[in-house]
Each structure stands twice: as C-alpha cells, then as structure tokens.
C-alpha cells in the first residue's frame, strides 16, 4: 500500500485534497458499490418518509398531496394536548411501559441468578430451551392463545380460578385494570427468558478465584451472589437499564393491538394504537402524523441521552 507521505508536494493544498479524495475513491469504489443496495433502501424507505412529516403541520388530503394541502402550523399538536382522549393515551403509554421496563429489568436478573445455581447441565439446558421459546412466537399467535386462555366463558385460567379457588370468573381482557395487568405480565412471560441470556453470559465471566476466596472467608452462597456475582453483572445491568430509557413511549404495539378491544380503550389504548386508529380507520392522516412525530422526537432525545449515559457509565458503544 502506498502511504500518503510519498505524495508530490508541488500541488496547492486544495488540489491535493481533491486528488487525495479521488485516489481514495479509486481504491475503495468496490466497497461503495457493496454498500449501495443498503444505501438505496435506507434512503427510500427510512429517509424519504422523514420528509413526509411535514404533513403534521398541514391538513393533508390525499387527493391534494403535500404541495396543495393547507398549512395549519401547530394545530394538531395543540389538539393532542387538548383532547382528553389523547392525553389519556399518553398516560396509558407511560404507565404500561414503565411497569414493563421496571419488572422486565428485575425478573430476568433474578432468573439468571437462580438458574446459575442449577448444576446439572441437562436440566439447565432444558429450562433454557423452554423459556426462550415464547420470544420467537409473534403476538398474533400469542394473542390468539391468550384470548382463548383468558376467556370469561370457560377459558383455562378462569376455569382454574373458579375450580381451585372458588372465585368469580375474571373479565381479564374486558376490564381496564386487569387488561394492564395482563399486558405487563404476558410481556414479561414472553421476554424474560430471552432477556436472561445476556446476564447468563455475564455470569460465566466471573473469575472462579473470587468464589474460592469468598468461600475461604466463610461467605455463604447468598453472600457470594451479592458480593461477587452481582458486581460482575453490574456493568451489563446498567447498559440494559439505560438503553430501556428510549422505550418509555413504546408500550408494545403488536401486543396491545392483538389483545385490546373497545371495552378497554380508556386504560389500554396507547400512542401507537391511537395513531393507527386515527390514520387507518378515521383517515385523520395529519393528526396521526403529529401524534407519531411527538412520540418520535421524545424517543429520539431519550435514546441519545441513554446512549450517552451507557457510554459514560459502562463504556458501551453502538458500533
């Protein structure tokens, strides 16, 4: 490879910079060609829609397009904060997602620590096989299963409740508070196994000499877990926790869309489902875009903050 030092020095700096760039391109053009398909897809399907966000400031009519629709400024954003309905939707989103984030953080850590205590590798692998599975099934499948299981008329769960505990059947998917409960619990049920993987990997990195030293000092297993295992996992826990910050407005569209119904809109309707109904069912494109944009901007700021924090506290980088 030729180094930049053998460059003839007679050129003016501007010409030299240009020729250097050209020379660089001559050598690397096949790499640019390899990136081209990804570049085109990103431009068309990710960057182009961003320009479409102008419709949040218009009264967009499909037959008029972006250029002829009326400009209305921040009207839709004002309505977003004035409608009781949309304010309720923002609260629902925050409540559901914060519950999911907090529970979803602790459950996998506890499970990883408990699973680490199982010494027979056959049993350990069997448990892992079963708990990872729900992550790969879609919410359409799981929604279909849950609707059947939780049905008031003879769903398996209600049958167990009435037969074993003698309680009244519970209208899980028709009562707002129970709906939130089902959403949070079923999300953790689907994801805790998968979320555990990263902690299990961290636990295997613990230096065995530390356990031996703790053992000699007479530490119980619980003390070893608190003073040796957990501190080793701490950096990865910090990364996972901070990166979750960007999800504060993501209550899980797929899940809620496949479980909810008009009976629970007051407590179960979230930003994403509200955007979908406003746009696709009511045809209120501009308002839906404004709600979506509001969410995107806040999420963007939160993600940037969370990446900065993850970098600062745990030296985490995206690439």
């Amino acid at each position: 490879m030729r180094s930049g030092l053998s460059e003839p020095s007679a050129h003016t700096p501007a010409v030299r910079a240009e020729s250097k760039w050209k020379r660089g391109f001559k050598k690397t053009w096949p790499l640019h060609v390899l990136i081209l398909p990804a570049l085109i897809i990103a431009l068309v399907f990710h960057y182009l829609p961003i320009f479409g966000l102008v419709m949040a400031f218009q009264d967009y009519k499909p037959w008029l397009g972006f250029f002829k629709s009326d400009w209305v400024g921040f009207k839709h954003f004002q309505s977003l904060f004035m409608f009781d309905e949309s304010v309720q939707v923002i609260w629902n989103t925050l409540i559901i997602s914060v519950l999911k984030i907090v529970c979803g953080l602790f459950v996998p850590i506890v499970f990883a620590l408990l699973l680490n205590e199982i010494r027979k590798s056959g049993i350990k692998r069997g448990i892992q096989t079963l708990v990872y599975l729900p992550h790969f099934l879609s919410w359409v499948i799981l929604g279909g299963i849950l609707i059947d299981l939780l049905s008031v008329k003879g769903g398996l769960v209600n049958r167990m409740l009435t037969d074993w505990f003698g309680s009244q059947p519970i209208f899980f998917l028709g009562d707002g508070d129970w709906f939130r409960f089902v959403v949070v619990v079923s999300d953790i049920w689907k994801e805790f196994g998968f979320g555990m993987i990263i902690y299990l990997a961290a636990i295997t990195a613990v230096n065995p000499a530390l356990y031996e030293a703790a053992e000699v000092d007479g530490a119980t297993r619980l003390q070893q877990t608190i003073n040796v295992t957990l501190p080793t996992m701490l950096p990865i826990i910090v990364v996972v926790a901070t990166l979750q910050l960007g999800n504060v407005l993501n209550a899980g569209f797929d899940q809620i869309f496949n479980l909810y119904n008009p009976l629970v809109y007051d407590k179960g309707d979230v930003i994403d489902t509200y955007v979908y109904r406003s746009a696709m069912l009511k045809g209120d494109f501009s308002f839906a875009t404004a709600v979506g944009l509001f969410k995107s901007i806040i999420s963007f700021v939160l993600i940037i903050i969370s990446y900065r924090m993850a970098y600062k506290f745990a030296n985490y980088r995206i690439f």
Partner: protein, 292 residues
C-alpha cells in the same frame, strides 16, 4: 463447601421446583391450544379440554387445509419469507462486509455508519411510510412486504462485528495471491462466518414469517394476506368483513377447534426451526454485545 449445607440443600430443591414450574408455564399455553385443536368439537365447546385432547380427531386440521383462503395465505407467507430473506441477507452481507473494513482503509466508513444508525434512532412513523408505499405504487405487491424490511441495521452490525473478528492476515494472503474483493468475501469471509450467517438468516426468516402489520396495511386485496395477517384478522380480530368467504367457511373458521388448529399451524414453522435457532442465537446475541 456451600452446597453441602442444609440450608442450601433446601433452597436447591425449591429452586429446581420453581424454575421447572416457570419453564412449564412458558410452554403449557401452546400445549393447551394443541390439545384443543386435536379435540372433538363438543368437548372443546364444553370446556373440558386441558392439556390432553378429548375425543381425538383431526377434523379441525382437515377443515383448515380444505379452506382455500388459508392455503393461499400460507403459500404467500412462504413466498414472502423466502424472497424477503434472500434479498435481506444479500443487502446485509454486502454492506456488513464493506463496513467491517477499518477506518484507515475505508475513510467513508464512519460516515456510512452514522447514516445507517440514524435510521434506528428516528423514523417518519406509520403515516408517512404508508403514504410513501402508496405513492411508489407498491400497494398490493409483494415488494411492499419485502423491500422496507430488507435493511435491518441491527443485523448488519451483527454481521459486521463477526467479519471484524476474522484475522486480517487471511485477507492479505488472499490479496497477494491475486484474489479480488468478491472472491475474498465468498471464499474467506462467508465460509468462516457460518454460525453468524445461520443466526442472522434464522432471525430474518422468523421475522418475515411473524410479520403481520405490513400485510394488514399494505394489502388491500385480502387474498394477498400473508398467513400472519390472515390469522390476525380471522382469529384475533375476528373481522370477517375483511374476508371474502362464503357463510359455510365462516362458520368453520369461527369454531374454537379450527381456530386452535390455525394458530398451531401458524406457530409450527417457528417450532420446527427453533432447535436450529437455539443452537446459534445465544452466540449471536453475545456476539452483538461484543465490540472491538
């Protein structure tokens, strides 16, 4: 040793019981649906099926397979999954390989990386995306389901990180022997990266198979629904107004056992690839977290 103490032995028994119960809870709902799908119609309606079929019959599967709308959706799903995974993998492999070059060799690398990572942080959202697909004339075409998800930046970074673990000496040796860029990619990088390729291919396959929302909004023609979207409208949403089917089919579709059979067939491909998937994805996830 701590595991000889009585306290720990008691804990160990309870720990085993607890974890085994929890792992069974992960799988029992699926088993229940499977049992319902294999049960007789009256037993299912009487709610006496638990985890074992009552009045065993394959009738519900027969009815599902006899329904042309279901079969059509199934085939369309296979089509979309195969095409989408093929295109997606090509895009990811090429871009991931180019971006695995060091900044010293490929000065534009970091600029490209920010360009791609930005798409993960901010997006136009549902409505502008939908209007774009409409304006491009992709509504009711397979391309609406295949092209937008063709670039998964997350998977591209995974691929790139794997390529970066390949020692540079291999590539230098091939360069000296006169191999070009493509030769190096196909004869050195890809064969070495089999585990990563398998992981990402399986992730992409599962993603396409499970994807239902794009079918719901981009396919006006319900006969072009992929299976996941079909199940969403028929089993979950129970919106028969969207399906053009005759009353007899309608009655069959709404039966509990037939619904269970359809759900199970929808989950079956995932269950079939799961053993292969499990072999690789743990490695893949840990790999994604490891940076140079």
């Amino acid at each position: 040793m701590y595991y000889k103490s009585n306290g720990y032995k008691v804990f160990n028994v309870f720990n085993h019981l607890f974890l085994i119960t929890m792992s069974l809870i992960c799988i029992l709902p699926l088993l229940h649906v499977f049992a319902v799908s294999l049960s007789g119609k009256s037993a299912a309606t009487a709610n006496i099926v638990n985890l074992w079929p009552v009045d065993f019959t394959l009738e519900s599967y027969q009815k599902t397979v006899d329904n042309p709308a279901f079969i059509k959706a199934l085939l369309y799903s296979v089509y979309r999954t195969v095409l989408g995974t093929g295109i997606g993998m090509a895009v990811i492999i090429f871009a991931g390989y180019a971006l695995s070059k060091k900044y010293k060799e490929f000065k534009s690398r970091n600029g490209y990386m920010w360009f791609f990572v930005f798409t993960m942080l901010f997006s136009g959202g549902l409505v502008p995306g939908y209007i774009l697909i409409t304006n491009l004339g992709l509504i009711n075409t397979i391309w609406a389901l295949v092209l937008p998800p063709a670039l998964s930046v997350y998977n591209m970074i995974l691929m790139m990180n794997f390529f970066r673990t390949i020692p540079g000496e291999l590539e230098e040796a091939a360069l000296i022997d006169g191999a070009g860029l493509f030769r190096i990619l196909f004869y050195i990088h890809l064969p070495i990266s089999m585990p990563a390729l398998a992981t990402i291919t399986l992730f992409t396959l599962v993603g396409h198979w499970n994807s239902w929302f794009d079918g719901l909004i981009y396919m006006m023609d319900t006969s072009k629904y992929p299976l996941a979207t079909f199940l969403q409208t028929v089993v979950v949403q129970q919106d028969f107004s969207k399906m053009s089917i005759n009353p007899e089919d309608l009655e069959n579709l709404s039966q509990r056992t037939v619904k269970a059979a359809q759900i199970f067939i929808g989950a079956l491909p995932i269950l079939l690839v799961y053993p292969f998937l499990q072999k690789y994805f743990v490695k893949g996830i840990v790999l994604g977290a490891v940076k140079e």
